[in-house]
Amino acid sequence: MIDVQSLELSFGRGHHRVQPLAGLSFSVAEGETYGIVGESGCGKSSLLRCVGGLETAWTGKVEIAGRPAPQVRKGADCRTVQMVFQDPYGTLHPRHTIGLALSEPLRAQRMERSTGKIADALRAVGLNPSFAERFPHQLSGGQRQRVAIARALILEPKVVLLDEPTSALDVSVQAEILNLLADLRAKMGLTYVLVSHDLAVVAHMCSRVAVMQSGKVLEELTATDLRHGRATHDYTFELIASSKLDIAA
């Protein structure tokens, strides 16, 4: 579903040049959830932004659903990949109702905008259609994240990029959102790329995990390897150790 080959991204030049992505390759099968872990600044979010079409100055090859994705996406190309961000409050316009927020992508894509379609989108994420008339500040964090998921799914994408979708949420709400994401994946045949700093979340959701460091994939593990600590690089051991510490009772 996703095939990325030697993806590079850099900003600035000369002395000020920074390279968030330094030649990175991976591929994700249809219906799979692919996890990405690593500390902040290792290029996780840059990677998602390149795949999602938010960055345009990258080089390399990105193929989505068998079609090469151009640097600058136009028209229907934008529909295939959608993104859910960490902070749902920051991505919803405070003075737009939920209904307006959900109809915005439909308007941009010149698709049919009806209250029925918005009600369906809200129902799909377990919200009452009456939420369409509310404003973001009238919703709890978990409800807002559900709206963000509904907004990503309203264009019927094939791939959803999840950038720390639950790290701003309480643990009980996190469980609800993770279950919702798993249900939607099964129902709509979605492919996910999940970025998280929480190894337990990644192991729960994903079949395979990439460990990133300084813009490169250091190694790729299966979820079972991750659970049993079967890694080859010291850095991965360090990551696993620092999250195991948390769990030790």
Partner: protein, 294 residues
Amino acid sequence: MLNHNVTHVTTPLLQVRNLSVRFGQSPDATRALRNVSFDLSREKLGIVGESGSGKSTLGRAILKLLPSVAETSADALQFETMDLRNASERDMLTIRGSRISMIMQDPKYALDPTMRIGDQIGESVSLHLKLRGSARRKKVLELLESVEIRGVERVYDLYPHQVSGGMGQRIMIASTLAANPKIIIADEPTSALDVTVRRKLLELLDRLVSSHGIGLIFITHDLNLAQDFCDRLLIMYSGQIVESLVAKELRQARHPYTQGLLASLPRLDLELPRLPVMTRDPAWAIDIPSEAAR
């Protein structure tokens, strides 16, 4: 029940008995806190709960920072020898920041974006320590060093947007320390930071607590973090303390709410097809009689 596992050597720094806060007058007004009682000594006390459980209100109520619509009542709110219940706004000004300090969640919002970092810490140095000129600058650099910032001379002249989140959080702690507080209330101090930075910041807080003899109230929603870092935990649900336990014994929690929270955490050592989602028992929200809360 609350005090049974506390080992006091000295009198507590802060004594709270039956603290209640409600927003509004009507019978269905939100009761943000209900009969909250606890003691704080020189220790790391974790307050754990979901959003809306009243943990931030608790921190603000102690400092009397709640808006005027909030109605606060308590049988005791004793800080050292001072009764905070009757403290005037003028009294509170001498306490806030200098005796009881607060560390906010997000340095991006709590630091003034238009002021150089050195001047910002300098402001609290001149307010609390009455230092001016080069003495002030020297103290600021000392404080920056004490929170393990490298290249203090360079950082002094930077603006908040030029430093990382972890560094911003250290800068806030540095300006807190200018006043040599007895109690620090940290409201989700690490949730804006990533794991590796978080660890370093917690180590720093830990050292400060033990070397300065500070009482730390650590407000968090992260169970694993609270278990690792704190000495004692209070679990809050809808404005009440439903359980109080030694942090190391979190996994042996008895209250169904705490157990539900623990169960809904994904685990590395356990593979589950679905995460258990908590079903909330309305009985948890019923008032716990204030005698039993003692």
